[in-house]
């Protein structure tokens, strides 16, 4: 009998091309997602070395980081010259090397981590990489998915493999049920609050437990998306009927007999009884509250009912970091989080730009108006999410409430396009990073769930969404 394996062990073992004595392995990559920001130097490297893309049929490119999200973008003109050159470079590289491509004009265009699953490129048991840290998102399907740098993008383009050493196994179990008003975003932020942003360093996390099982695929993607914010190489959730249901019928999912064979294999993708985890974290679902971030690291998480902490509440290097964060965020220790006034609300990103996220926000906004003077925008994660939200009447709810209804892209999550915060502007954001300057120079970010973002848009302050349900 072979030793019991974790889900991560199984996927890893199925992809080892070769292994050296010291454990350095060559790992085969099933799907390589590519966007315009981290790929130009990699394609240039191929050209200079006279190399080809080894498996263009497994390589999928889509522009997302730089693209404007204004409605007039259909004209095809990107005003910022550098952004335009970068998107044009991806156009050319995709054509020259013959990889799958969704240009800005295609309704299927969107954030790479939303397009992959939506088109059925991401499937259980696969290895998925992209020159983007939020590749962790695809782990929701029981795929081993992680971000890589541009040199590794070039390596995967040329060889369809990566040189890797295996990470350790970490289990994060969320037991029981979530309380009303608590979402996948609150789970993932609460886990980072508990472990710290370096707590997952050196590990691949498997999320499990009843509260995870109960999540939709959209919610599971939100949880895995932020595994990287906890420092983990990847986050994983074992595939189940919900996963198969989501994948079935997608354009690039297998069909007919191939589908049956795939499902039979996918059903073997779970952690065996007795498999060893190097680290285990358990959180009761009932103990998780709607949370917000107060500082400039995703680990700076507190329940919305809490007050802003003081630097003395921390230890070691975190004391200085907290001082700096409070100063940057313009907050005072002891201040109630619900007293913090907001200028801008951003709903979107690969963390929370899917249809379920828009439904959750629209449910709070229905029949209401955002506060006078509030800037609020919804940026759907893909053209198809946008179309579905229009069909379901969600777009009308957002527009009537006073939100801008934008085209798909990364937008204000990282503010590489014109969607940015101005100096001192404070934003309730459904994105994934509250780093200094992330959403614009000296901009201030509070990370929240879509429902909490909608609540803040109405009241003009960080708000406990449970009071509006």
């Amino acid at each position: 009998m072979t030793a019991p394996k974790t889900l991560y062990d199984k996927i890893w073992d199925a992809h080892v091309v070769s292994e050296d004595a010291d454990g350095t392995s060559l790992l085969y990559i099933d799907r390589h997602l590519v966007h315009e920001v981290t790929s130009p130097q990699a394609f240039e490297g191929l050209r200079m070395a006279g190399r080809q893309v080894r498996a263009p049929e497994k390589t999928i490119a889509v522009p997302d980081h730089n693209v404007p999200t204004t409605l007039d973008r259909a004209s095809g003109v990107i005003e910022n010259e550098e952004s335009r050159i970068q998107v044009e470079a991806l156009d050319k590289n995709a054509r020259d090397f013959g990889v799958h491509y969704y240009p800005v004009s295609d309704v299927r265009q969107g954030i790479v981590h939303i397009v992959g699953p939506e088109q059925g490129w991401t499937l259980p048991g696969m290895t998925v990489v992209c020159g983007d840290s939020h590749t962790a998102t695809h782990g929701a399907f029981g795929a081993l998915a992680h971000g890589i740098g541009t040199s590794e993008v070039e390596h995967v383009l040329a060889t369809q493999t990566l040189i890797q050493k295996k990470s350790k196994n970490m289990k994060v179990e969320i037991t029981g049920k979530l309380r009303p008003g608590v979402t996948a975003k609150d789970i993932t932020l609460s886990v980072i609050g508990a472990t710290g942003t370096a707590g997952g360093t050196g590990y691949v996390i498997e999320y499990c437990g009843q509260a995870i099982r109960d999540l939709s695929m959209e919610g599971r993607m939100t949880v895995c998306n932020m595994a990287i914010e906890g420092g983990a190489r990847a986050g994983l959730i074992a595939p189940d009927e919900k996963t198969f249901e989501y994948c079935k019928g997608r354009p690039h999912a297998p069909k007919g007999a191939a589908w049956d064979a795939a499902v039979a294999y996918w059903k073997t993708l779970f952690t065996d009884e007795g498999a060893h985890f190097d680290k285990v974290i358990t959180i009761a679902g009932e103990d998780i509250a709607p949370v917000v971030t107060w500082g400039t690291s995703p680990e700076d998480v507190l329940p919305i009912t809490a007050t802003v902490p003081a630097p003395e509440d921390f230890q070691g290097g975190k004391v200085e970091a907290a001082k700096r964060a409070l100063d940057y965020m313009g907050l005072t220790a002891g201040q109630k989080l619900t007293d913090i006034e907001i200028d801008t609300v951003f709903i979107g990103s690969c963390t929370n730009g899917r249809i379920e996220d828009l439904r959750a926000a629209a449910a709070i906004l229905k029949g209401k108006k955002i506060k006078d003077g509030m800037r609020a925008m919804v940026v759907p994660g893909s053209g198809l999410v946008r179309a579905q939200a229009e069909e379901e009447g969600l777009a009308d709810i957002f527009k009537e409430a006073g939100f801008e209804w934008r085209m798909a892209g990364c937008s204000m999550c990282l503010a590489m396009n014109p969607d940015q915060l101005s100096e001192g502007e404070r934003c309730a954001s459904t994105s994934n990073r509250n780093f200094e300057g992330r959403q614009g120079y000296k901009g201030r970010t509070h990370l929240v769930s879509p429902a909490m973002a909608a609540a803040a848009a109405i009241t003009g302050k960080l708000t406990d969404v449970r009071e509006m349900m």
Binding site: V17, L26, Y28, S83, S133, G149, A198, A258, G317
Partner: protein, 201 residues
């Protein structure tokens, strides 16, 4: 890739924890389609004011650290994005070695692809090196990759661990795509097997 063997240079102290990739190289500089020229924008928002004037308090603006080649940093250095622009900017500035108690995974890997040696040490030893770095330009540290040692300005020797394969690549300046290409037969064989086992992939 440039080789890394021995380095003797000035170390700059950056004790702040969680220095993220947006701090190392803000996104406005990610629009380049080249790898070079990012050093001038390393730590841009910490280093310059909005008018582009240097902020004198920032460590790399201080006269004694302007030529730093080593960075001693707080925990979890390089967290955040996968942008290789971060190590490109660090290398372009002239820093070839970063020392911390921990690094974010992707950043750590990216360093090795760019001739930068990231060294992980226990808190006590990082504290000691931080103090040494705070002495400024008269204090030079020596990093020897072959021997896996750091020698402080006082002559104290600290051993460090490094992955054997990564060490080999850095010492010899090897391009790992070339190395992997030599394994083409194994990759072909894997693809044949996978066609049978996972035809949908």
């Amino acid at each position: 890739m440039e080789k890394f063997q021995k380095l003797s240079g000035i170390a700059a102290p950056m004790p702040l924890v969680n220095i993220d990739t947006d701090m190392i190289i803000p996104k406005v500089f990610l629009k380049t389609i080249k790898r070079s020229g990012l050093g001038v924008n390393l730590f841009d928002e910490m280093r310059y004011d909005r008018q582009g004037n240097e902020i004198p308090d920032f460590v790399l603006n201080k006269p004694q650290y302007r030529d730093a080649q080593i960075l001693v940093a707080g925990d979890n250095f390089g967290c955040g994005s996968s942008r290789e622009h971060a190590p490109w900017a660090i290398a372009d500035f002239g820093i070839k070695c970063v020392i911390s108690t921990s690094f974010a995974d992707i950043f750590f890997n990216n360093c090795f692809k760019n001739g930068i040696l990231p060294i992980v040490l226990p808190q006590e030893q990082v504290d000691l090196l931080m103090k040494d770095a705070e002495k400024g330009a008269n204090a030079r540290m020596e990093v020897d990759l072959e021997d896996q040692t750091i020698t402080t300005s006082d002559g104290e020797v600290i051993k460090f661990d490094v992955d054997a394969f990564k060490k080999h690549c850095l010492l010899n300046g090897l391009d790992d795509i070339g190395l992997t290409m030599e394994k083409a037969t194994a990759i072909d064989a894997y693809e044949e097997r996978a066609k049978q086992s996972f035809p949908w992939a």
